[in-house]
C-alpha cells in the first residue's frame, strides 16, 4: 500500500513535532479517554467546513435569504453540506491511508499533464477566492469605520503570523478558535425573531420557492452549491490530515470531525439565510456583491447589535478562509515542487512553502486596495467558478479513493462510490443548468 523503509531514515524536526502530537493521541487512546482523543484528532474537518463558510459564501446565503426568504433553500443548504461530507470524507480517508497530500498523489499517479490541469484550477480558484476574503474583511470592518488599508493589512498580518508558528498543532487550534465564531450568525438570526413554524414547514416541504426556477434562481442555486463544495477543500483537508499525522486508526474520529464541521457550517449558513430573510418582502433586492450593505440593510429590522454581529461575521468568515485557503495553495504548490510542505517546519526549513503562502496572500490583499477595480464581479463569480471546476476534481478524487494500490482495505465502498457519483451528476447538472440559463434564458422564463 505504501512504500517500505529499507534502512532507518533520517529524523527531521518536522517528524519530531508530528511525533509529539501522535504520542498524545496514543496516550489518550491507551487511557481510553474518548473525549480527549476526539479533541486531539478533530481539526481538519471542522476547519475545512467552517473555512468554506467564507465571505462570498456568507454573502451568497445572505442574498439567498433576501431574495427568497425562508423556504426551499433551507433544506437545500443542508443537502449541499451532506454532499460536502461525502466528498471530504474521501479526501480525509485518502490522506490518512497514504500520508500524502492531494496534489502530490495526483501528480504521482496521473502524471503532470492531468496534474497541471488540477493545479491550475486550484491556484486560479484560490487566488480569486482569496481576493474575495479580503473584500469580506474590508467590508465587515468597514461597517465599524475601519479604513480599508488598516482592515486588509491587519488581516494579512494575522494570516502570516499564524502560519509562522512553526507548529501545525498551534496553527490548527488558533484557526479553530477563530473559525467557531462563524456561529455568530446564529444570534443574528435569533435577533431577527424568526418564524420557527415557517422554518419547520420549509424543511418538511422544500418550499416555497418564490418565482420558481428562473436564471436568477439558478445563479443563487449554483452559488450556494459553490459555497459548500469546492476544489480547495479537497486539497486542504487531505494535506492537513497528512500534516497532522492522522492514520487509518483515526478514521472514526476523522469522520466525526468532518461531520461536526459540516453540521456547524450548515447551522451558520441556515442562520444567515434566516437573518436576511427579514429583507424578503421589504424590497430587499440585495445583490451578492453588496457586502457592506447587508449589515446596513438589516439594521432597521434587527437593530444595531444584530447588524454589528453580522458585519463581524463577514469579517471573521473572510479572515478564517484567508487562513485556510492560503495554506491550501502552499501545500499543493510545495507538494509538487518539493522543498517541504508542512506547518511543522520553520520558515528556513521550507522557504517555497511559506514563500507561496506569503506571495499569494499579499497579492490578493493588494488587489483589494487598488482603487476602482471591479471587485464585485470577482465576488459574483467565485462560487460559480468553484462549482464548474469541481467535477474534474471529483473524478480525480474518485479514482484515488478507488485505487487499491494506494488505499488497500480503505478504498471506497460501493456506497461511497454511489454517493460520489450522485454528487458529480448533481454538480454537472447544476453547472449545465446555469450555462443554459445564460445561453438560452427563455428556457427558464428569462
Amino acid at each position: 500500500m505504501t512504500a517500505g523503509v529499507d534502512i532507518e531514515p533520517r529524523i527531521t524536526s518536522e517528524d519530531r513535532r508530528r511525533a509529539i502530537d501522535r504520542q498524545r493521541v496514543w496516550a489518550a487512546r491507551r487511557r481510553g479517554s474518548r473525549l480527549q482523543l476526539l479533541w486531539l484528532l478533530i481539526g481538519p474537518g471542522v476547519l475545512v467546513m467552517l473555512g468554506e463558510n467564507d465571505a462570498p459564501s456568507m454573502l451568497s446565503y445572505a442574498a439567498t435569504g433576501a431574495q427568497f426568504g425562508i423556504g426551499f433553500f433551507l433544506p437545500f443548504v443542508v443537502l449541499t453540506f451532506a454532499m460536502a461530507y461525502v466528498v471530504q470524507e474521501m479526501a480525509f480517508r485518502i490522506g490518512a491511508a497514504t500520508h500524502r497530500g492531494h496534489a502530490e498523489l495526483i501528480f504521482d499517479r496521473f502524471g503532470p499533464f492531468w496534474g497541471w490541469f488540477a493545479m491550475s484550477d486550484l491556484l486560479l480558484g484560490n487566488f480569486l477566492t482569496l481576493i474575495t476574503e479580503f473584500i469580506g474583511v474590508r467590508a465587515g470592518l468597514g461597517f465599524f469605520g475601519v479604513p480599508p488599508y488598516a482592515a486588509v493589512i491587519g488581516a494579512l498580518a494575522v494570516v502570516v503570523a499564524l502560519a509562522l508558528t512553526g507548529r501545525y498543532w498551534t496553527w490548527e487550534r488558533i484557526a479553530m478558535g477563530l473559525a467557531i465564531f462563524n456561529l455568530i450568525f446564529v444570534p443574528v438570526a435569533l435577533l431577527a425573531r424568526p418564524d420557527f413554524a415557517a422554518i419547520g414547514h420549509a424543511f418538511l416541504t422544500w418550499g416555497p420557492l418564490p418565482g420558481g426556477i428562473q436564471p436568477s434562481t439558478l445563479l443563487i442555486l449554483v452559488a450556494d452549491i459553490g459555497a459548500t463544495v469546492t476544489p480547495w477543500m479537497l486539497f486542504f483537508q487531505q494535506s492537513a490530515v497528512v500534516d497532522k499525522g492522522l492514520t487509518p486508526a483515526d478514521l472514526r474520529q476523522g469522520r466525526i470531525d468532518t461531520a461536526l464541521g459540516a453540521g456547524l457550517a450548515a447551522l451558520a449558513a441556515i442562520a444567515t439565510i434566516v437573518a436576511t430573510s427579514v429583507l424578503f418582502g421589504h424590497g430587499g433586492s440585495a445583490r451578492l456583491q453588496a457586502a457592506a450593505q447587508f449589515a446596513g440593510a438589516i439594521e432597521p429590522h434587527i437593530g444595531r447589535v444584530g447588524a454589528s454581529l453580522f458585519a463581524l461575521g463577514i469579517f471573521e468568515a473572510g479572515l478564517v478562509a484567508a487562513i485556510t485557503i492560503s495554506i491550501s495553495s502552499a501545500y499543493a504548490f510545495s507538494e509538487v515542487f518539493g522543498g517541504g510542505h508542512s506547518l511543522n517546519r520553520r520558515v528556513r526549513e521550507a522557504p517555497p512553502f511559506y514563500g507561496v503562502l506569503l506571495l499569494m496572500t499579499m497579492i490578493a490583499a493588494a488587489f483589494v486596495l487598488i482603487p476602482h477595480l471591479p471587485l464585485e464581479f470577482v465576488v459574483l463569480i467565485v462560487n460559480v467558478v468553484a462549482v464548474l471546476a469541481m467535477p474534474p476534481a471529483l473524478l480525480l478524487l474518485y479514482l484515488l479513493a478507488n485505487d487499491g494500490d494506494l488505499m488497500g482495505r480503505w478504498r471506497n465502498t460501493q456506497l461511497s462510490n454511489a454517493l460520489a457519483t450522485t454528487v458529480v451528476v448533481f454538480l454537472i447538472t447544476a453547472g449545465v443548468g446555469f450555462a443554459l440559463s445564460v445561453l438560452v434564458p427563455k428556457l427558464f422564463g428569462g
Binding site: V5, I11, W26
Partner: protein, 76 residues
Amino acid sequence: MEAEAPISRDCTADPDDEQPTILDALEPDQLVAAKRRFRRRHLRGVTRALMWGLRLYVLFALVVVVDRIVQTLVGQ
C-alpha cells in the same frame, strides 16, 4: 498499519528527543525521509474519455461565465 505503535514517553516530551521514540510514534511512511513516489498509473478507455469530457466541460462553462460577466458589465 492500523494499530498504534507503542511508546512509553511522556507526551509533553521535547521535540528534540532521540530517534527511537519518533520512529515508534509515527508509521514508517510518515517519516519525511522515508517517503517514496508512487508508480504512475496510465488512464485508459472510459476514464480517459471522462477526464477529457469534464475538462472540455470546464472550458465551455468558463466561457459561459465570462459571457455572463460581459453581459452584466454592458448592462451597467
